[in-house]
Symmetry: C2
Subunit: 231 residues, 2 copies
């Protein structure tokens, strides 16, 4: 039997996880407001200082994976190929957050129930979401820098991506986080991608139904000639 196969101390959950599960046990049992940090460290069997080493405040223990997901999102955006459509890349980056929730469905469902009940946690969550949104906006602002409306477009697309992602995620959470999170989130992100993705080098013609064909043809002919570099 070699070292990596040995059971025992290596299987003990790290202190951080112990604190999170102690906290959630107490939050569920006696409510978030009625639980003190002292209660949490007592149940986890660790010192007060250990708590603050991992979590600056009581709110932070509710969102233990947020810093990690944010770092992963940044890495995803940095690794993205510049020839991929920026909106598609932003949607892919949002899926990093979805995967974090999907990795631990039971915990995600408990947190969702808690966050809905406690206004302080709702406020905290909104500012967490804002950090994701700003990260996506900063990326998109670089990618859209050649567009005259690149700045406003970057912030608007980032907000749309995050809103669609969160809508899909909430749908999954409300259904008890039992099914496939991607089945809720992906169609939502796809709506944003289709809305904002404008193929370059293309003609878009909008015509009322019932328009005489000759009129439409005239318009198409003019547009194709104007935009084509080959003629």
């Amino acid at each position: 039997m070699n070292k990596t196969e040995e059971p025992g101390t290596d299987d003990k959950p790290p202190m951080r996880d112990l604190l999170v599960s102690a906290a959630f046990e107490l939050f569920t049992e006696r409510g978030y407001e009625n639980t003190t940090i002292d209660d949490i460290v007592r149940l986890a069997g660790v010192g007060r200082r250990s708590f603050f080493r991992y979590f600056p405040t009581k709110e932070d223990v509710v969102f233990p994976d947020h810093e990690h997901a944010l770092a992963e999102m940044v890495a995803y955006l940095q690794a993205a190929h510049s020839d991929q459509d920026p909106v598609t890349t932003a949607c892919g980056a949002a899926r990093v957050v979805m995967r974090m929730y999907a990795e631990n469905p039971a915990f995600s469902a408990r947190r969702y129930a808690l966050t809905r009940r406690v206004p302080a946690l709702k406020t905290y969550e909104i500012s967490v979401v804002w950090q994701y949104e700003r990260t996506l906006a900063a990326y998109l602002e670089r990618r859209f820098s050649h567009l005259p409306d690149g700045g406003v477009r970057a912030y608007t697309v980032a907000a749309a991506v995050v809103a669609a992602h969160n809508y899909g995620l909430r749908t999954w959470l409300r259904a008890g986080a039992t099914g496939d999170a991607a089945a809720s989130v992906d169609p939502a992100l796809d709506m944003v991608r289709r809305t904002f993705h404008e193929p370059e080098d293309a003609v878009v013609l909008i015509a009322r139904t019932g328009t005489p064909l000759w009129q439409v043809v005239q318009k198409v002919e003019t547009a194709l000639k104007r935009d084509s570099s080959g003629s």
Copy 2:
């Protein structure tokens, strides 16, 4: 001289305004964190209880018009004609917030400077913005209820409207809030309107430049026939 023309007591700013200007004087002079509610009421010359009658917390005094703007937004949405495009209506409702900022440019600029410096105020502001967003989303969800993706579309459009509005507003605030706020905000909202406004009863055809005209004509003909109820 009739009653309404009498100067004097009626010109005295109401207690609420006194508290707001005392607070901002102190925030600017000694910083937000170093100002207590006791300092504010002392400078305003009122009792502590008067402060709490108007503002539940110290953060609230920084956003004194928010409740009013939110109520005005709700009234705007309720009064909107149902034959107006929902996205256009949502953009109009966002302009309510813009007008609140534009009515008092000097105060808006001071608050912007303060909010950027104090993280607690930034968090408060983000949750204020979230309330506007939720109000727009609830309206859009009703208007989009006939669409298969009405829910996600409502939340996405609401987020896009708010993000574009705030981008325009920030541009104006960063320039010292001296020019016309609408000149920054309106083009931003217009981008969202154009992006999400899909005319009903219309055909959208997308073709690569260089596509032979006969191929495009064939597609147009098929699309117009399929969508037209008259043929």
